[in-house]
Amino acid sequence: MTTLKRSTILKDQVTHYCPGCGHGIAHRLVAEVIEELDIREKVIGTAPVGCAVLLYNYIDCDIIECAHGRPPAVATGIKRVRPDNIVFTYQGDGDLAAIGTAETIHAANRGENITVIFINNAIYGMTGGQMAPTTMLGMASTTTPEGRGKHGEGPPLKVCELLSSLQAVSYLERVAVSTPKDVLSAKRAIKKAFQKQIDGKGFSLVEVLSMCPTDWKVSPEKAVAFVNDEMKKVFPLGVYKDAK
């Protein structure tokens, strides 16, 4: 029997996220993991540019807000100065896989002992629905009105697959927050990723497939179905790396 209670790490705030958005679930999971691992007083998080920029309005621990794409570099500076603290980044797809691709790959390749929570909703949310690096072929966005792939956009970038070849990476898993089962699985993965850092194993990343009904221009129910029926085909869930 599971007892449900609100994490003490979550601030008592009215959410700014749209109905049906996956960020709220992901925030809650991060908060619960921090609480369960009893690391709140050691945690330093980074907030991204994008919908999750206000991360610090919800998660009650030390947080630094970064320029677009730069959280892995900022986290590197923090972690190298304070190796005993637990440092995580929380990033969207544009942040992590477009403007910050270099920072992501090189932090991973150095094996920086940080944890990355990567929200993939295949769209730019904050700016109103433009093509993300993870927008799927054929998927319409405000900058791919005929669907991605018609005008040389190339296919979506698959972050876990891309990073899995890097030797210094300790843990990569892709999860979703579109079903209760997926949410439980996502929490287990996030906890494992933080544990990797606590154990000094190096770079860990959890990619979270997440809903964006507003910019997908569908209902919250249809957004859940889109993750389950479309996104999981292109971005298969699973563990992509788990180094000993």
Binding site: A67, A73, V74
Partner: protein
């Protein structure tokens, strides 16, 4: 007196930083400042510090952002094209009011330019550089001894005012070697304990370092006004220049950094030859030493500005002197540097001296 050692400018600056307690450096290779990251990579591990060779200039300045937020004395260095790339991060660090030191050993521009010394980044350094209304304290040493001292001071000013401080050198300052006395670090200011850093919220409320201020009325406008008040205070408190033979001078030569040093030699000789010449060498480029110019416009008749650019500090000299005196300019960008002779010829022509036999 400490023993003098022979070091290159880049090495002098790095050693001064270590002496001043810098324990984090992130950088990216670019000529003519490569000895800086190389020196830090050897030296920082000896004192328990961290050197990171970043994947880009952008990453380097953001690593410094993180290190400064975590409470370390942190530094990055580069040369002109690389400093352009850092501007995003510099704007964020200024906005977040975090301390750090950034060195720019300027080279020829624009674009990839060349690797000869130049001073084409004056505007970028003193007028902002990145987006938004912010300032850096900008320091322009003219010798390696001065570079050593100012680098140490830079960390104190950065911590005291909680802002980025820039050391604006050039390829000559970076590459020359001269004997330097490595005097022990002595703080010039009392630095309050850093109650804003992120180190985990043990026994205190959580902290946020951020630059997003959505509300204009009570937020971003007020934050900007706060920054401007700080900058006005700094303009009163930090203001350095070298005034040389200005008393009785009809012509004031002004130049910063290496051209300032060359100009001083030209002025010294001209004085020996009986010419009424003096010099103002700004050491802080922001804040600009306005008072020194306000003083000489009452006594001098002409100004000469010498720069390794096409006239950037020239504008600040005109502002500081309220355009009260005829002002001439001697300078070129792209790798040109003034010799003593060239400056002397200009002095002679401005003072209508002709056919003077010179040594």
């Amino acid at each position: 007196m400490a023993e003098k050692v022979l070091l290159k400018g880049n090495e002098v600056m790095a050693e001064a930083a270590v002496q001043a307690g810098c324990r984090f450096f992130a950088g990216y290779p670019i000529t003519p400042q490569n000895e800086v990251p190389e020196y830090f990579s050897r030296r920082l591990p000896q004192v328990g510090g961290v050197f990171v060779q970043a994947e880009s200039e952008v990453a380097a300045i953001n690593m410094v952002f993180g290190a400064a937020a975590a409470g370390a004395r942190a530094m990055t260095s580069s040369s002109s094209p690389g400093v352009s790339l850092k501007q995003e991060g510099i704007s964020y660090i200024a906005a977040a009011e975090l301390p750090c030191v950034i060195a720019n050993m300027q080279r020829g521009g624009p674009g990839l330019g060349n690797i000869r010394a130049a001073q084409g980044d004056y505007f970028q350094s003193v007028k902002g550089g990145g987006h938004g209304d912010y300032k850096l304290i900008v320091l322009a040493p003219a010798s390696l001894q001065e570079l050593y001292t100012l680098t140490m001071n830079a960390f104190d000013w950065a911590d005291y005012y909680r802002m980025p401080v820039m050391i604006l050198g050039d390829g000559i300052l970076a590459q020359i070697a001269e004997p330097v006395e490595l005097a022990p670090y002595k703080p010039i200011l009392e630095i309050a304990s850093k109650d804003y850093i992120l180190n985990g919220c043990k026994g205190r409320p959580s902290r946020v370092v951020k630059t997003l201020v959505l509300d204009p009325a009570d937020g971003l406008i007020a934050h900007n006004e706060h920054l401007q008040r700080k900058y006005r205070r700094i303009a009163e408190e930090v203001n350095l220049c070298e005034e040389y033979q200005t008393s009785g001078a009809e012509l004031i030569v002004t130049a910063y950094g290496i051209p300032g040093r060359i100009a001083k030699a030209a002025v010294r000789q001209a004085r020996k030859d009986g010419l009424p010449v003096g010099m103002i060498r700004p050491i802080t480029l922001w804040p600009f030493p306005d008072a020194a110019f306000a003083k000489v416009i009452k006594t001098a008749r002409q100004l000469l500005v010498v720069e390794m650019s096409h006239g950037q500090m020239l504008e600040d000299v005109k502002l500081a002197s309220q355009c009260a005196l005829p002002t001439e300019f001697l300078g070129k960008g792209g790798g040109w540097y003034p010799t003593e002779e060239i400056i002397r010829e200009k002095i002679d022509s401005m003072l209508n001296v002709s056919g003077r036999a010179r040594k």
